[in-house]
């Protein structure tokens, strides 16, 4: 049974230094609030996993939370580079970041294999790509029936997966809809899980075959309305494209980044505080 609990307590008890952590989301439902809380609580030595690391991963990496990143596409969607990610890889700042790099197909299958309690994922993939040359975790095996060569990569099995969803009921059953990405697989692949939600309701009113994560498969459910901001939650909010664009100049220099993080994240108590300070600084910028 999931505990319905404040985000701060969920992160304090479920995310530990050195953990492998996946904060998943595919443009939609990205758990920014939870990422901020991990930064506020000063976690170190994390192995971060995500198919599409974006701004919240740029922030986690730039703040020195991560020692390693397992990923398949790292950018600021619709804008350009992740400057903190690039600085970690190109400039080893704030320290060296080890990377394990896959394709989306590889990562998606690795989450499926993790959710399925298999040690590895099997796919047709990586053929002709240089990725297997730089990633020893991409191997090839033979089909025992046809002799065909197929790619094999280790399952993703995070210590903790964090996602954002639209609704939970009072028992902690969670409903999400729209672009689902790999969130269900990421939760089921993990030992522990935190789901931030837009609201807690009496009845999920889920269609019969909807994507519902039962409470007993989750560790914690945390009400954080707007917790995906600047990402969106279908039916609740729109993506704030201005923030994605505004992030680019902030993240370009180490100083502006540090100052921004100090003011907006470290010096705020929670995501509501972040939203308030952000509204102020956006007003200043105009």
């Amino acid at each position: 049974m999931a505990q319905i609990t404040p985000l701060r307590e969920a992160v304090a008890s479920l995310v530990h230094d050195g953990d492998t952590v996946a904060l998943e989301g595919f443009t939609h439902l990205i758990p920014h609030a939870a990422g901020h809380e991990i930064i506020r609580q000063g976690r170190r030595g994390l192995t971060l996993v995500r198919m599409t690391p974006d701004l919240i991963y740029d922030q986690l990496i730039g703040m020195g939370c991560a020692d390693k990143l397992i990923f398949s596409w790292g950018g600021n969607p619709g804008v350009g580079s992740l400057h903190r990610f690039r600085d970690a890889v190109e400039g080893e700042w704030p320290h060296k970041l080890a990377i394990e790099e896959h394709s989306h197909a590889g990562m998606a299958n690795a989450y499926v294999a993790g959710a399925s309690n298999l040690p590895f994922a099997l796919l047709r993939g990586y053929t002709g790509s240089d990725l297997p040359k730089v990633n020893p975790n991409i191997r090839f095996i033979e089909c025992p029936f046809t002799g065909e060569k197929l790619a094999a990569i280790p399952s993703v099995r995070p210590d903790v997966t964090v996602i954002h969803a639209q609704k939970a009921d009072r028992r902690g059953n969670v409903l999400l809809w729209g672009i689902l990405g790999v969130q269900k697989e990421a939760v089921l692949a993990a030992k522990r899980s935190i789901v931030t939600v837009e609201e807690v309701v009496d009845d999920l009113e889920a269609p019969t075959n909807a994507c519902v994560l039962p409470t007993w498969a989750l560790s914690a459910v945390c009400p954080v309305p707007g917790g995906a901001y600047p990402s969106y939650a279908q039916g609740y909010s729109e993506r704030d494209n201005r923030f994605y664009k505004a992030w680019d100049p902030v993240a370009r220099s180490r100083e502006t980044f540090r100052d921004w993080m100090q003011r907006h994240v470290l010096d705020t108590d929670d995501f509501d505080g972040f939203r308030r300070v952000l509204a102020e600084s956006m007003k200043e910028a105009v």
């Binding site: 790099e101 729209g178 990405g181 790999v182």
Partner: protein
């Protein structure tokens, strides 16, 4: 940048990006099932859907199947894609049942760099372990490039983008050319066109080397060669790209105006 139409008839002016987009969109046949990359491919694919190919099926890696967005998505997972789709499945399902399942006619990709055999780099410039430029990475491209029945690549042409030797092959085109792709066990047909702001390059049927087969009106062969990092082959049957018809241009500009109004800018390119 505006090119001048090479005819004296009354045609509307258009930019190099516009003729690239329209030319790319024209290649997409009605009813085609297209796996769409964000940015230029998404613009071209949606333009096709709004003009000559109303029944093109657009699939995005985030999960929408049969998306019919009213504005261009800024990212691969915009809500409009989900709301207008025939259905939205999980990302693993997209890659497993739909792409690897062999159901994609056309993979429509962008690229940071290509080489003469239409191999794609979106990973690093310089050594992998100490890169000069760290690019976003593979995303869906390696398997789209390998498994779609054919692949269109759209990117602006320059010596920085069209390089003699890639630092990193992220996604396979024809590898070292000839039958290297087939020998590597890749089943999809590979790139059939690289559409740029200067012309259209297609692989030689035997050597598989990219050859300039169509040049946009107002562009010279010298200009194209100048923008290519290898000694570009030019087809003896070089044709001039048809100028964008007024309807297509109007549709493109409408789409971009709607998009700008919705997003507060013209659409960039990105996953995420």
């Amino acid at each position: 940048m505006t090119t001048t139409p090479d005819t004296a008839t009354e045609t509307p002016d258009f930019t190099a990006t516009e003729i690239m987009t329209v030319a790319a969109s024209r290649l997409l046949k009605d009813g085609t099932v297209c796996f769409v990359g964000i940015g230029l491919p998404s613009t071209a694919a949606n333009l096709a859907r709004l003009t000559h190919a109303p029944d093109v099926v657009l699939i995005y890696e985030s999960g929408p199947i049969g998306a019919k967005p009213t504005v261009l998505p800024l990212s691969i997972g915009d809500g409009d894609l989900a709301l207008t789709a025939d259905t939205v499945v999980s990302t693993p399902e997209i890659f497993r049942y739909w792409l690897q399942g062999g159901r994609i006619d056309v993979g429509f990709l962008g690229a940071a760099q290509v080489d003469r055999f239409a191999n794609i780099n979106t990973t690093v410039i310089g050594p992998y372990d100490a890169p000069k430029v760290r690019l976003p990475g593979a995303g869906g491209a390696p398997e789209i490039a390998a498994q779609a029945k054919e692949v269109f690549i759209v990117l602006k042409q320059s010596r920085k983008a069209f390089v003699d030797k890639l630092s990193f092959v992220t996604s396979a085109g024809f590898l070292d050319g000839g039958d290297a792709r087939e020998k590597a066990g890749i089943t999809g047909g590979g790139p059939t066109a690289v559409i740029t702001d200067l012309g259209i390059l297609t692989p030689d049927p035997v050597t598989r080397e990219l050859t300039l087969t169509s040049i946009h009106p107002g562009v010279t062969v010298e200009q194209v060669k100048e923008a290519t990092g290898w000694d570009l082959k030019v087809s003896p049957n070089l044709t001039t790209t048809a100028i964008p018809d007024a309807a297509a241009l109007a549709a493109l500009r409408d789409l971009q105006a709607r998009t700008a109004a919705a997003h507060g800018q013209s659409a960039g390119g990105g996953e995420g």
